[in-house]
């Protein structure tokens, strides 16, 4: 049976991808962030998954305002890299895992999560930057197949944090019932605190971010109990992306250990963080 071996929470700020694409990771501005990633990257390179399920949001690229699915899943063989308005990132095409996608879809719908299905999907920085955080030098091909799982975080009403955690729990169950012996990693992306527009643009709330970074491991229920208004007020209008971390957390289950985390301000207009958790339950059954 398939197993979730680890979960990675990471910001997906476009400029983090641009810093890698333009070889600026050693610049004074970016070095502290990338130094913070190093231990997690080294550990992940020793614990490679067959498939990564990447929970992210599209930013006005594959999905426009004509239709905005609350939760969606990609079921394609491959996903092209989107031109977001300034040319696509020069990174490999993203290979899908359509059999796993279809299995997850069936299981989630049976469990009451009525996912929108995407048979064609161009993936934007929300998905490709986290892949680059995992694997900075993919060469011609990413080291794993990908199942994109999309969440509406840009148009109110977004799903509640509680619903995200519940979806994660259903996702974990769906993964574990896939009959092939594959290793799966789950990525929760976005955040941390940031607000791009309005008089509060540039908002960073380190206290809230650090509380969240801790509680995501030990007390995700307390984070699921926060309202959408709480997230926007405390973490900014775009900080609400952090609800996507709860999907990753729900999928991991209860027996996890923290491998590494790092927190840095700023990545352009954003507080950026990474947190990596090993699924201890998977380790003992392997």
């Amino acid at each position: 049976m398939a197993e979730v071996i680890w979960g990675l929470a990471t910001s997906h700020v476009p400029s983090i991808g641009a810093a890698m694409d333009n070889h600026k990771t050693e610049d004074a501005y970016w070095k502290p962030l990338f130094d913070g990633y190093a231990p997690a990257r080294a550990w992940m390179a020793e614990h490679t998954p067959d498939v990564a399920i990447i929970v992210y949001n599209d930013h006005a690229n594959a999905i426009d305002l004509a239709m905005m699915p609350t939760f969606a899943i990609g079921t394609a063989d491959e996903y092209q890299v989107a031109d977001e308005g300034w040319g696509p990132r020069n990174v490999p095409v993203v290979k899908g895992a359509p059999e796993l996608s279809r299995h997850l879809l069936g299981s989630l719908v049976d469990d009451g999560f009525d996912m929108t299905v995407c048979q064609e999907l161009e993936v934007d920085h929300g998905l490709t930057v986290p892949l680059s955080v995992y694997c900075p030098e993919p060469g011609d091909e990413w080291p794993c197949a990908v199942v994109p799982l999309l969440v509406n975080v840009i148009q109110y009403p977004q799903p509640t944090a509680a619903r995200c955690l519940a979806l994660g729990e259903a996702l974990g169950k769906a993964i574990r019932s896939f009959p092939e012996n594959i290793k799966v990693a789950v990525f929760g992306t976005g955040g941390m605190s940031h607000q791009l527009a309005g008089a509060r643009a540039g908002l960073i709330n380190e206290d809230f971010d650090r509380m969240f970074l801790k509680a995501i491991e030990t007390d995700p229920e307390s984070l699921a109990a926060l309202s959408r208004e709480d997230y926007v007020r405390e973490a900014g209008s775009e900080g609400i992306e952090m609800i996507m971390w709860l999907i990753m957390r729900g999928a991991l289950g209860s027996e996890i250990s923290r491998v590494h985390d790092t927190y840095h301000v700023p990545a352009s207009n954003t507080a950026a963080a990474l947190a990596l958790f090993e699924n201890v339950a998977a380790k003992t059954t392997a």
Binding site: A60, L65, L196, A197, A199, A201, L203, E206, V232, P266
Partner: protein, 119 residues
């Protein structure tokens, strides 16, 4: 039971379905800039491009004058508005300065100093 209303947070745009409705043409036009041919067409004749996307006079004026605050006030979503900013070679830090009445340098410095804090 009344329909749930969008929360209000001071100094913050919470883009919602009502904004989507009133600014649909505006955001749809801004979203079209993900296609390089559309970027070229817009640059060749901005006013005609706005008309083709049926922008109302307020929306069109905000675009032609590059009134970034007004685009947001009219219901523009920042992810859509940003595509025009990139065409103008503006960064999210430039916009941050405009939204907060700072220069870009001041805005960048505020972020480097740990970001802006509220209540």
């Amino acid at each position: 039971m009344p329909a749930p209303t969008t929360p209000k947070v001071p100094g913050t745009y919470i883009f919602d379905v009502a904004d989507n409705g009133r600014a649909y043409a505006l955001n749809r036009m801004l979203g079209s800039f993900k296609d390089p041919r559309n970027r070229e067409m817009f640059s060749a004749d901005e006013a005609a491009y706005c008309d083709a996307y049926k922008l109302n006079p307020e929306q069109k004026e905000a675009i032609l004058q590059r009134d970034w605050n007004r685009m947001l006030d009219l219901g523009g979503s920042i992810f859509y508005v940003f595509k025009l900013a990139v065409m103008d070679k503006k960064s999210m830090q430039d916009l941050g300065g405009i939204f907060t009445g700072m220069t870009t340098e001041e805005f960048v410095a505020a972020l480097k100093a740990g970001g802006r804090h509220f209540g």
